[in-house]
């Protein structure tokens, strides 16, 4: 099953996760991910038909807040850690063509 991890897989997952692996790091990632997936594949030995997937352990339900404004001006706190700021906004490389 490890053969499913090709250079293309690493590149594709890199696009999804916004990670760029090159050279040795990429080879390492390919090898380790393949090994890990092989290991995870042992779950296939278990028959899980009819089992409901469990995303939440507890039957905690219906946790709501009331529609009441509780927060004031948060701009200073929001921007305090910004690597780059301008006019009270976060600066990013241009997003428009």
């Amino acid at each position: 099953m490890a053969d499913k991890i090709t250079d293309e897989t690493i590149e594709y997952v890199g696009i999804l996760a916004k990670l760029e692996l090159a050279g040795e790091e990429k080879e390492q990632a390919k090898k380790e991910m393949g090994r890990m997936l092989d290991y995870i594949d042992q779950l296939n030995r278990l028959d899980t038909s009819g089992v409901e997937p469990m995303s939440h352990v507890f039957p905690v339900q219906n946790v709501f807040r009331e529609d009441v404004v509780t927060n004031g001006d948060g701009s200073d706190a929001a921007l305090a850690n910004a690597p780059e700021e301008k006019n009270g906004m976060f600066v990013v490389p241009k997003t428009f063509a």
């Binding site: 910004a82 690597p83 976060f90």
Partner: protein
């Protein structure tokens, strides 16, 4: 009175009784840090000035009878993935090297309102991903029991700080054993409560459905007191439980008469170190002598816990760590193009172990693999939960080791990640099933390295764990 040898509760009592002060306690801790820190490196940040200021302010409140709780004036260390208002919170990652939160984690806030005094932030595996505290971007922490060995992880800095007397107690977080395993390696007490008992607000998420905050400390009594202080229903955390049974100190009773303790055969099979096995079974014998009813049983599915855990944890982590993109806070690489900026920032900001898990997590959630991996893991998780449900119909708690072996040597683990992951075999199930678990010291191996005894309980049964652990601990002191 040697201050540093006191437990948190003993120190709190001494302060209340006027035998010492919060400031003296903090000075003693800071002196110890000064002396030991260059060797152990438990902390990523020690806020000396701030700590003394806070100690003075707390002492004033104690003098004015505004603060009278058991932890008032007691110095505490906090794992660096818990937000501390005005104090950098880095998750031991380059990605967050200068991130200063504008808010404190709810657990930290509760400790501070109980009068505990923050010393600084402890080292950890980067973003809590690791079992040795060697994946920290800020250097390794050494095991105070023997500096050639790792302290465990990911809350290794917290466990080591307690063991090195560089604090009186510490907070850690446990996603797959990250409190219990370092407690075991460092010979201290550590507990992960039932999922939802301590608010996760302000805990930088690794795997949200598995993360819980808990104490690392010197005694079972400390553990109960600290847990009582940090447990709360928090409206800011949708997964926080509304419990009315958080009087954990009520469990501090030396009595296990008739307590049914299950010993899973599958926790004592191949892969378990002989000395660890012997020490744990000996501890079980102590409880038996005190009247507990021991029974061996087959828990089942034990081998499936790790693949299930790593699938779910990596999937959630891949999503939780998407927010680290160089825009709002933390590290940012310069690039002209947006996606290049994302990629360079993240590739440079995260260390190898974090990247490994993000890649794995993104893969198992990706189109075509979701059902085969992620959904499959959620189903096995349901089955594992079922196995524990059946066990707890018969037993009050489950007893076993916290880790298959004592602490590995520094530098031995990271070369083979899969082998490192296998070391989590006894701890990850509690996170998958939301169960409480406690780890207490039960001796040392021939090299003098601590061995930990783990007790797992059914959900909401922390008091049973505390009772068993307290009985064992007191029996050993007699």
């Amino acid at each position: 009175m040697e201050l540093l040898d006191l437990s948190a509760v003993e120190l709190g009592t001494a302060i209340r009784e006027g035998k010492t002060t919060a400031v003296e306690a903090m000075e003693a801790v800071l002196a110890q840090i000064e002396q030991k820190e260059s060797l152990y490196h438990c902390y990523v940040r020690v806020d000396r000035e701030g700590a003394l200021d806070r100690a003075r302010a707390v002492q004033k409140k104690i003098d004015e009878k505004e603060l009278s709780g058991p932890l008032a004036g007691v110095p505490v260390a906090v794992k660096d993935n818990l937000c501390t208002q005005g104090m950098a919170t880095t998750c031991a990652s380059r990605m967050l090297e200068n991130f200063v939160p504008a808010y404190s984690a709810e657990a930290v806030r509760r400790l501070e309102s109980a009068g505990a005094v923050l010393i600084g932030k402890t080292n950890m595996d980067e973003f809590a991903m690791g079992s040795t505290t060697e994946t920290s971007a800020y250097g390794v922490t050494r095991n105070p029991r023997d500096p050639q060995y790792v302290p465990g992880g990911s809350s290794g800095g917290s466990a080591a700080a307690v063991a090195a007397k560089e604090c009186f107690f510490a907070l850690g977080s446990d996603t797959g054993g990250s409190i219990r395993q370092p407690a075991s390696f460092c010979g201290v007490v550590g507990m992960k409560p039932t999922y939802g008992t301590v608010s996760r607000y302000g805990l930088v998420a690794y795997a949200s459905s598995l993360d819980q905050i808990g104490p690392l400390c010197k005694t079972v009594e400390d553990c109960a007191v600290i847990l009582e202080a940090i447990a709360s229903h928090d409206e800011k955390d949708s997964t926080s439980l509304q419990r009315t049974d958080t009087d954990f100190t009520a469990g501090l009773v030396q009595d296990v008469e008739g307590m049914r303790i299950g010993i899973p055969r599958d926790y004592f099979g191949e892969g378990l170190d002989g000395e660890v096995r012997e020490a744990v079974l000996k501890a079980a014998g102590v409880l038996k002598d005190r009247g507990a009813v021991l029974e061996e049983f087959d828990l089942s599915l034990v081998d499936y816990a790790i693949p299930t855990y790593y699938t779910i944890a990596a999937a959630e982590a891949s999503s939780n760590l998407e927010r680290f993109d160089g825009i709002k806070y933390g590290y940012r690489a310069q690039a002209q193009e947006l996606h290049q900026m994302y990629k360079t920032t993240r590739s440079q900001g995260f260390g190898p172990e974090v990247k490994r898990r993000i890649m794995l997590g993104s893969f198992v959630l990706s189109s075509g693999y979701y059902d085969a991996y992620y959904l499959k893991a959620l189903k096995v998780k349901a089955m594992i939960k079922g196995a524990f449900d059946r066990a707890f119909e018969k037993y009050d708690c489950i007893l076993g080791p916290a880790a298959p072996a004592t602490a590995p040597r520094l530098g031995e683990s990271l070369a083979d990640p899969l082998k490192m992951y296998l070391g989590d075999i006894y701890t990850v199930s509690a996170n998958l099933a939301g169960l409480p678990g406690i780890c207490i010291p039960c001796g040392t191996d021939s090299r003098g390295l601590p061995i930990g005894l783990q007790l797992l309980g059914d959900c909401f049964q922390e008091k049973k764990l505390i009772r068993a652990a307290y009985t064992y601990e007191q029996s050993c002191r007699e």
